[in-house]
Amino acid sequence: MSSRSAILERLRATVGGGPLPTLNPAVMERRHWSAPERVERLRKGMEAVHTEFLEAKPATWPDVVRTFCESEGLKNLLLGPTSEAGAALAATWAPGGTQLVAYDRPVEAFKTELFTSIEAGFTGTVGGIAETGGLLLMPGPQEPRLLSLVPPIHIALLRASTIQDSFWSAVQALGWTRSLPPNALMISGPSKTADIEQTLAYGVHGPKRLVVVLVDDLT
């Protein structure tokens, strides 16, 4: 008998577990805030774990990204050229200064470059979480998975109108409860650890800095 059948058979042999307990999700559903409060909460939660925020307007956010890159003296910025946010940024990017690098090849073709010479990565988001602070990302063909992980700085575009109350309400609003892409994730700040004496240190394996370009599209 295969291990699979042996295990399942043993599990099925256990009888009389009793009725299924009912679930009372009231505690999850109490989390509601107005749209401006959601923005404030998200920001407060994420700033507490060292996320940086840049304020922007719908029409001018590419300039905000540009100004940040120039002021930090970044040599380059990696992005998904066909993603909505990536394409919008590339469309207005004037030559000179920080150079845009397109993530348009399989990672195998430029793994070393990605790890050693890319200084920042730019992604969009599909939403945010007000309750705890956090960004929701759906990497995919347009926005590869490592874009938000390997470069030392991750710049993420967040539209205020997409911020949800909680992770609980977000997964329902985005339909994640029924089907998910190969990778989806929530990010609340730059990579961190407290493994040495409970002392927080940022930038252990993933990005050392997370910069959110917060677009005020509520009005």
Partner: protein
Amino acid sequence: MHAETDILFRDSAAQALLDPQLRANFRRAMDGLMAKRKAQFPDPQDLQELRELSTAIRSRSLLNLPTLLEQLETNLTRNGIQVHWAETCEEANQLILGLLQARGAKTLVKGKSMVSEEMHLNAFLEAHGIEALESDLGEYIIQLDDETPSHIIMPAIHKNKDQIARQFSQKIKDAKYSEDVDELTAMARKVLRQKFLDADAGISGVNFAVAETGTLCLVENEGNGRMSTHVPPLHIAVMGLEKVVANLEEVAPLYAILTRSATGQAVSTYFNLITGPRGEGELDGPQEVHLVILDNGRSHIFADPQLQATLRCIRCGACMNHCPVYTRVGGHAYEAVYPGPIGKILTPQMEGVGVRHDLLHGSSLCGACSEVCPVQIPIPDIIVRLRREATHTDATSSVMGKGSGRTSTEDWAWRIWAGVLKRPALYRLATWFATRFGRALPGSAPLLKHWTAHRTKPVPANRSLSERMRAEGGPRV
């Protein structure tokens, strides 16, 4: 392993208590973790509701376990993740070795996984010429010293930064001595980023496996979990068979209570949902993803309605952080993969209740563990139950190794006790001797010395109750 060395918790705990450095390291860390957890639950009503919801979700998952596991397998397979089943650690190790060898993988990076510790996977792979490097900072630190985790969430918590500074300066090439935590972290980052870049495969654990969507959820702060699962071309995840949850909605409360209970964080840095290997058109992500589902005694635990609650555990470690025993002796004294209160009930059930029944007695049954447990596992009740199982052979019991902890001394003691109690004349004679000469018995007498090693000697009364009643004109009993 334990049977060979025959180290008893009593002895290793006594040794740990004599180490002031170890005690200071744990005291500081556990005080910090307790305070941070408390700050995350300001409203006791909210906390209780969240615990009840989480308990109900985990209980439902277990009641539906075989169905959910099959559903998980079907959906993972549909998503392109290959599923393997292993009854034992040995089988799981062989499975993983086979997958690695078939792809010529020589080096791999690991995200944190307690199940892989259970399997002693690193040692197994190294014996077969495959380098398995831990990438969680705490796991990396203990791997450098060839140690095991002393805590399930904070594996290197027994070390302070001076010890780590010395260790890094000796063991990492070109590293200079520094006691600065940021500098130490940067040294590890430098070494490990190269390893992520070069690795042929990545291994991770699983925090929750979602049956409905066929998704593996990973909770982490460092990013090494994402690195291990997204950078190398092959990702192998390992999980205990109890980790399955019906749907993503049910994961939300468990995730909320997990990070708050574990490290006092409202949310972790990353919550990574893996539903497939590199998809069509994707430019990165692993080409192959495999999941190994491990039993290793869990289906036996599952068979008992009371003990099944053990499998509700979401591995937050709060029971350790709040345990008066664990906080004083640390994790290594348990000589087990899972230390602390959850380890006390898990280890004897996995390895046999007779082999590790010493662990069951390293508890004052104070109940701090069950009070903070996010899924309300009645750990003290289970400890008491397993103490009985260790010395009794109940025919209906499914506990592994039941009765094997009974010693011949204990057996004889009970026989003599029963023999005396069944014979009134003998009983009277025995009480007469005990009341007249019991005080003269030295504390170092055989058997008694085990009691008096840590407690005062019991002193019998001058006259037994029936003697006194008789003397005062009462009925003869």
